[in-house]
């Protein structure tokens, strides 16, 4: 649908994105993850046609992105910006009515969307009295006004509690949204809700694929937390090393053994030899967030 070929974006001397090759397929949910400043928002701006590549090509349905091409695409896009300060002196209904008029959407659809995002009861209150979560829901409502096929959302779950994150994805699923491109730095919470993950760091794509593919390809080690009994002695640490742990460290009353994925089951089976010395066991599977953000 939208394809970036060797796209680089510079702002003066600063390189925001470097040699990005990425295609957003129709019907997929793509998550862009990375730290602040990793290039996520710039990439979204490129996908929306708000900015142009410094070098490289951007194709819409196989054609070079033109003004007419963007206008055609935008008729089907709902955009949820990260930093938006809607008009405090207007009510939620008035704000959606205004954006609705710009899309040719009437009052009925506005009322419907207000109900969908759970703001029906607060629709006639001024925005100044809205909480952060309510503002975020209004932002989503604005994006859904035109009943879009494509939603592009910049940090849509920022500031939402886990329930709010859940509700956000439910709302997207409830509409006729087919394609979603969203950015977030909350990879652990969102990675299993999208079809593909694109991890950005310093303007470059570090990884691209489904959560399962990335976990499999990277084969990160697991951490086995072994809590010794009172009678346990130093032989337990030695046993853990002999069972194949690449490192064993003491942490909060437990021995933490780092074990390669391939050896995980054999390691756990071998622990039965030390059963008398083990009070409790906890296997900590790695998550993608750790892989990309904590170990950089």
């Amino acid at each position: 649908m939208i394809r970036l070929e060797a796209v680089t974006k510079r702002y003066g001397e600063q390189v925001a994105l470097h040699a990005i090759d990425l295609e957003v397929h129709r019907g997929e949910w793509l998550g862009l993850f990375g730290h602040n400043g990793s290039g996520k928002s710039t990439l979204l701006r490129l996908l929306l046609g708000l900015t142009r590549p410094t070098t490289g090509s951007l194709l819409i349905d196989g054609e070079v992105g033109s003004a007419a091409g963007w206008r055609r695409l935008r008729a089907h896009v709902g955009f949820m910006p990260e930093r938006i300060d809607f008009y405090d002196h207007l009510t939620g209904r008035e704000i959606l009515a205004y954006f609705g008029r710009l899309r040719g959407v009437g009052a009925e659809r506005v009322a419907e969307v207000l109900g969908q995002v759970g703001l029906a009861a607060a629709a006639d209150r001024r925005l100044a009295g809205y909480s952060k979560g309510m503002r975020q829901r209004l932002n989503l409502g604005q994006a859904l006004l035109g009943d879009p096929e494509i939603v592009i959302a910049d940090e849509p779950v920022e500031g939402l509690d886990p329930q709010g994150v859940h509700a956000f994805f439910d709302l997207l699923h409830a509409g006729r949204v087919e394609t979603v491109v969203m950015s977030s730095h909350r990879l652990a919470e969102c990675c299993h809700r999208v079809d593909r993950i694109c991890v950005l760091n310093e303007g470059e794509v570090r990884a691209l694929g489904s959560a399962e593919e990335l976990s499999r390809d990277l084969r990160p080690p697991v951490h086995v937390h072994v809590y010794p009994t009172a009678a346990a002695n130093g032989s337990l640490q030695i046993a853990l090393t002999e069972l194949g742990a690449s490192a064993v460290v003491r942490h909060q009353g437990a021995w933490v053994a780092e074990v390669a994925q391939a050896q995980k089951l054999a390691f756990l089976a071998g622990l039965s030899r030390c059963e008398a010395q083990i009070r409790q066991l906890h296997v900590e599977e790695p998550n993608l967030e750790e892989l990309y953000f904590e170990h950089e």
Binding site: E82, R83, R103
Partner: protein, 278 residues
């Protein structure tokens, strides 16, 4: 949705905003108050106090409009695009299936209507008082109000240009105040200085052309042509060369609206295309 509907929707919101935040009523009240004070005390320099001396009152009103309306227009318009950009709504609107031209036209129209509403309400309310009590000719007052609208539109267009060139609201306000001081005070002083330095030998054509380089002076010159009761000339316009026809002055004042507005739009479109608005 067609372009005209989009333009109307945006303009309507801009007007509603300024009604809701009481900007329109504040400006109207300010104009009403200043006008009434001028009606009561405007003729004091010629020894008349208390609503007498329609000619002197009209001359004072002309100067009030020449000073106040440009300032109001500049302060109103200088944050027009920047405010939307900084609050993030501009990016959102640009992603909507509408053209930057429609957005710009709607915004300018909305600001112009809000300014016009404020000026008309303020001047018409006080006009009733002036026409009925002071004896100001109704038709001349109407012409003054219409010329005030044209002057306001010219400075509003300039304020959009200032806004787009400044990139930040604080700088835009500072630049607008500077522009106002230059247009209503400094420009005339410079012209008088040139006139004096030339020993009165400055060609009338050149002097006339220099006067037209300032919308405030275009406004004053038109007032002197169309408002006979403001006979006692005040300011530089008193020494304006004869022979500048009203149609030319009106055309130039119209250009003072059209050219900065077109330049603002061109700059806006250029910056939108290059993602370089702020």
């Amino acid at each position: 949705m067609n372009t005209s509907e989009v333009v109307v929707a945006i303009a309507r919101k801009e007007v509603t905003d300024r009604l809701r935040n009481r900007w329109v009523w504040t400006v109207s009240a300010l104009l009403f108050l200043c006008t009434v004070v001028i009606a009561l005390f405007g003729a004091a320099p010629v020894g008349v106090v208390g609503g007498k001396g329609a000619g002197a009152v009209m001359a004072s009103l002309m100067n009030l409009v020449a000073y106040l309306v440009p300032l109001i227009a500049l302060i109103l318009g200088c944050g027009a695009i920047i405010d939307e950009k900084q609050r993030g709504t501009l990016d959102l609107i640009l992603v909507y299936p509408l053209s930057p031209r429609a957005y710009f036209a709607g915004t300018f129209l909305g600001f112009a209507l809000a300014l016009a509403l404020a000026v008309v309400v303020g001047l018409v309310l006080s006009g009733l008082f002036l026409v009925l009590w002071v004896g100001v000719p109704a038709i001349e007052y109407l012409i003054l109000t219409l010329l005030a609208l044209a002057l306001g539109a010219a400075f509003l267009a300039l304020s959009f240009l200032v806004s787009l060139l400044s990139r930040e609201r604080g700088r835009a306000i500072a630049s607008s105040v500077f522009l106002w001081i230059f247009a209503v005070f400094v420009f005339d002083l410079i012209l008088v200085g040139i006139l004096v330095a030339s020993g009165g030998k400055l060609p009338a054509t050149l002097f006339g052309a220099l006067l037209l380089a300032n919308p405030s002076d275009c406004f004053r010159l038109l007032c002197f042509q169309w408002l006979p009761s403001a006979a006692a000339p005040l300011g530089l316009a008193a020494v304006a060369p004869a022979g500048l026809p009203a149609w030319l002055l009106l055309a130039i004042l119209t250009l003072w609206v059209a050219v900065p507005a077109a330049a603002s739009y061109a700059l806006f479109q250029y910056r939108v295309d290059r993602d370089a608005l702020v």
